[in-house]
């Protein structure tokens, strides 16, 4: 599980640009980054040792011709790119091959036609596999994120408001404690606890529930989500509490808060109208980054509760040299991270007028 230390937020300074130009520049950079990822993705997996055509099957009965047939089917018989037949081991090939007939070009062309390819392992279209998995992950991590943000923010506000009281200390200590819990360990503990209370230990739904009315189907999924979401929430809420607390305490020490107090506003009004909104900025950064990685899934939680998410799919695909799945998944993650950061940038200027795109 990734964890990010709280860090002070540094607003943009001294740059005044045309609003549209800034936006365009940001979009251009995002597109450039995605393009870079697409290219990197292709080479990243091909420098790994091993032959995908043989990775799944290690069997004496697999004849040379059969391996060759697999390579043809996956398009692995073509040179990787001009001058290189293979990257690991490095095999120099002819530089005068038709560039349109290289793995690299075919990959690129397919991608722009919305084709992610066929999984080497399951022989299913990558888009199908990833959509299934993505939806599961978004559901689980989405619920976990929302819960941990809500709970984290509430605890954080309480702690900052009642700074240096028993409430504050309790919440800080608890946050530090749950934040430092090993995810895997907590998940196992909850799994054992849940198994004695009839909670499901694997999967996303009860087999056969697809014939039930929609509401019951959702209830069933919710029931299966209980333990993994609880794990996720506990692990993440500490982080949000601590960031919210420290950020809000900074804001509460500002002069304008003193002014507000002098004006006779109630604590609730001060928090609601003046403090929380400003204190949210660092939290937005963290949330944006975390949301970006949401797609990658929480591999450990998914593994313990056999949640069929994207994290697990990536983990399995690495072992099987399932390049199309890996390329697709990495592309998806890259796009989400870039998009999340892009949206975070936009949110800043909304939350804090000092961060302006004039």
């Amino acid at each position: 599980m990734r964890k990010i230390l709280p860090h002070p937020f540094i607003p943009f300074q001294g740059v005044t640009l045309n609003r549209t130009r800034t936006l365009l520049k940001k979009i251009a950079w995002s597109i450039f980054t995605i393009l870079f990822v697409i290219i990197l993705n292709f080479f990243l997996f091909r420098v790994l040792p091993g032959d995908p055509a043989r990775a799944g099957i290690r069997d004496p009965r697999l004849k040379k011709e059969a391996v060759e047939m697999l390579r043809v089917r996956f398009g692995l018989d073509k040179p990787v790119i001009n001058c290189f037949d293979s990257l690991n081991p490095i095999k120099i090939g002819s530089c005068s091959v038709n560039p349109l007939d290289t793995q690299f070009f075919i990959y690129f062309r397919n991608l722009f036609q919305g084709e992610l390819g066929i999984s080497y392992h399951s022989n299913r279209p990558v888009a199908d596999v990833l959509t299934e998995r993505l939806w599961n992950t978004v559901l689980l991590i989405g619920a976990g994120q929302i819960l941990s943000i809500v709970i984290g923010v509430i605890f954080g506000v309480f702690a900052a408001w009642k700074a240096r009281t028993a409430v504050d200390y309790t919440s800080v200590v608890t946050s530090l404690l749950v934040w430092s819990l090993p995810t895997f360990w907590l998940a196992i503990i909850l799994l054992f606890w849940g198994s004695n209370h009839g909670l499901p230990l694997a999967g996303k739904s009860t087999p056969g529930s697809s014939s039930l009315p929609l509401l019951k189907q959702w209830a069933d999924i919710g029931w299966h989500m209980l333990l993994p979401t609880l794990t996720y929430t506990i692990v993440y809420m500490g982080e949000y509490t601590l960031i919210m607390r420290s950020s809000l305490m900074d804001v509460l020490s500002e002069d304008y808060i003193l002014t507000a107090k002098a004006k006779g506003l109630s604590t609730f009004q001060i928090l609601k109208d003046h403090a929380i909104k400003n204190a949210m900025l660092p939290l937005v950064t963290i949330i944006a980054i975390n949301l970006g990685f949401t797609v990658a899934g929480a591999i450990q939680i998914e593994a313990v509760f056999s949640w069929p998410g994207l994290g697990g799919a990536i983990f399995e695909a690495v072992g099987r040299r399932d390049f199309p799945i890996l390329q697709g998944a990495f592309l998806l993650i890259a796009i989400t991270v870039i998009l999340a950061n892009f949206l975070a940038d936009l949110t800043y200027s909304f939350l804090d007028p000092r961060v302006k795109m004039e």
């Binding site: 790994l48 040792p49 091993g50 032959d51 043989r54 990775a55 799944g56 099957i57 290690r58 069997d59 004496p60 009965r61 697999l62 004849k63 040379k64 011709e65 059969a66 391996v67 047939m69 697999l70 089917r73 081991p89 399951s122 022989n123 299913r124 596999v129 929302i146 819960l147 809500v150 709970i151 923010v153 509430i154 196992i188 799994l191 198994s195 004695n196 009839g198 230990l201 694997a202 999967g203 996303k204 739904s205 087999p207 056969g208 019951k216 209830a219 069933d220 919710g222 029931w223 299966h224 209980l226 998914e302 593994a303 313990v304 509760f305 056999s306 069929p308 697990g312 072992g319 040299r321």
Partner: protein, 548 residues
């Protein structure tokens, strides 16, 4: 405001859990819940590789023969079979009244369609590559007979046909054979495919009209557990009625749990663990074009060194420590789980360190520089071997440690390192760029697959791991491939095992045992008295009954 949201969320969670709780409590008594650690890779029989897929095929489809848990075969889909005198033509009379799950009749047309499909689709790497190479033609006759003509008279037709599942022509002829995912899976077997979610579960319903083995239960659900602790916990708490696998560490604790029976025996596809000696000779090294590198330590080409290492290997200790006792000492690549084919008359090299040391002394491998490691007779290099194993192996690291200790006792040192399985394949075969490896095989019901691994012919193909080459053995291999008399073929196969054991081509530390468990308070009738253990086989699932 935020408090309200929280309360709302808690409320929603409570409602959801209330609904869900009701559901899980209302489970039908006649649904068998099976927990396993995998999921089928594909439901297209031509493309699938994983055993999980084959388990499902075995339940949903029929094939010409059934493989029994004692290793024998029973004719299944045909009422009779006739073999021509030259052994080239088989005539199967297909049983009448067999129906597909969609109600259409299963006829000889479907059988010949399926066999032709497997034969003519080279993109089916597994089935086409191994099970159909001897098929010349397959025809269906008017009176529901299938005539299978072979190119060579082979002795093991049953094992060639047992995994060639019969597919419905009326569905498959309209599909792209390679892209077809086959998730609705119309078959003719004792179970029907009801619902399949990859990496989650497979739900099968009973085909009570099955011609041979109509199940007594109504439904079977295979649930995927990525986490083995969860799997064990699920059978302990009764969420699962049976689990198809478990870590050896869980066996002792599970045995003590009330209402749970742990079953131990040879696996359905018997497994072999091997210690591989790279003994390839220069003249046999595959060409650079074929990928040969051949950097093996020269000492390993000497049988005396291999023999000494065999004498210095305490197999029982390896079994006790690495497998927690759940294994049988190994002899050759042909495991005890293969029943009649396993040569149990071979006497293994006894564990005797003194004898091992003497063999090395006599052969001239002496420790000339006093560093406790022997040198080659010409003093050129010490007996220090690289030992590699696939990094995904659970047992290998412990085994490597134990072997280092054991062989240190005879003046042999090891440089041990785990390697990514794919990189290891690249190092292994046909590159022969290693000294020693720990790896293993799963066996086909017929021994010829693993016997092939010892042949000279298999050296450049990447199947041979040792580079072993023995013309006498190769001749016997060719003979058993065409010997139609069972006893005569068995004698050849036993002799082949004796030869490779005598030549110390491998050290086979053990044959791993399968461990499965079922709950005794849910269903009765699990088959546990056979040499092989497979509770998710038709032999159990079609016969178990709920306990009232």
């Amino acid at each position: 405001m935020k408090h309200k949201i929280l309360y709302l969320l808690i409320l929603v969670a409570l409602i959801l859990s209330a609904c869900g709780g009701g559901q899980s409590a209302g489970a039908d008594a006649s649904v068998v819940h099976i927990g396993w650690a995998g999921s089928p890779d594909s439901l297209n029989p031509g493309l699938a590789i994983l055993t999980e897929a084959y388990t499902i095929f075995g339940l949903v489809y029929d094939s010409m023969y059934t493989l029994n848990l004692n290793g024998s075969f029973t004719l299944n889909l045909a009422s009779s079979v006739e073999r021509s005198d030259d052994g080239l033509v088989y005539t199967f009379k297909i049983k009448d009244g067999v129906k597909w799950h969609d109600g259409k009749p299963l006829t000889a047309e479907d059988v010949s369609f399926s066999y032709n499909l497997y034969k003519d689709t080279p993109e089916y790497p597994y089935l086409n590559g191994y099970y159909t190479p001897y098929f010349s033609s397959i025809e269906a006759t008017a009176n529901n007979e299938v005539i299978l003509t072979l190119t060579e008279a082979i002795p093991n037709i049953e094992s060639q046909l047992v995994f060639l599942y019969i597919l419905p022509k009326h569905i498959w002829e309209n599909e792209n054979k390679i892209e077809f995912e086959n998730t609705t899976m119309i078959g003719s077997g004792p179970f029907k495919m009801a619902e399949y979610v990859q990496n989650e579960f497979v739900r099968l319903t009973a085909n009570k009209e099955h011609f041979a083995t109509p199940p007594k239960v109504d439904e079977v659900i295979f649930q995927t557990f990525e986490n083995q602790d969860a799997l064990i916990q699920a059978i302990k708490t009764g969420q699962m009625d049976m689990v198809t696998e478990m870590p050896n560490t869980a066996v002792t604790s599970l045995k003590t749990v009330k209402n749970i029976e742990v079953v131990i025996g040879a696996p359905f596809s018997p497994g072999v663990s091997d210690i591989i000696f790279n003994q390839i000779k220069e003249e046999n090294c595959p060409t650079a074009e074929e990928g040969g590198i051949c950097t093996g330590h020269p000492a390993l080409r000497d049988r005396n060194v291999r023999l000494a290492m065999a004498h210095a290997t305490d197999k029982q200790k390896l079994i006790d420590v690495v497998l927690l006792g759940l294994g049988a000492p190994g002899l050759t690549l042909i495991p005890d789980g293969l029943g009649v084919w396993y040569n149990d008359s071979i006497k293994d090299f006894e564990f005797d360190v003194a004898k091992a040391n003497k063999i090395l002394d006599d052969a001239g491998y002496l420790d000339t520089d006093g560093d406790k490691i022997r040198e080659m007779p010409d003093g050129s290099r010490p007996l220090t071997f690289r030992l590699n194993w696939p990094s995904d192996s659970i047992t290998a690291p412990r085994m490597a440690e134990l072997l280092s200790e054991m062989w240190a006792g005879i003046g042999i040192s090891l440089e041990t390192q785990a390697v990514d399985p794919d990189a290891l394949t690249a190092q292994c075969c046909p590159a022969f760029d290693f000294d020693l490896m720990l790896w293993g095989w799963a066996s086909d019901p017929d021994p010829s697959t693993l016997l092939y691994v010892y042949t000279t012919e298999s050296v450049p193909t990447g199947s041979s791991e040792t580079g072993y080459s023995n013309p006498a053995y190769d001749k016997l291999y060719a003979e058993q491939q065409v010997e139609l008399e069972f006893e005569a073929r068995k004698a050849i196969i036993w002799e082949m095992q004796r030869i490779v054991h005598e030549d110390v081509v491998y050290i086979i530390p053990f044959y791993e045992q399968a461990t499965q468990a079922y709950r005794t308070d849910r269903f009765t009738g699990w088959v546990t008295n056979q040499p092989k253990v497979e509770l998710s086989d038709v032999s159990s699932l079609a016969f178990i009954e709920p306990i009232k």
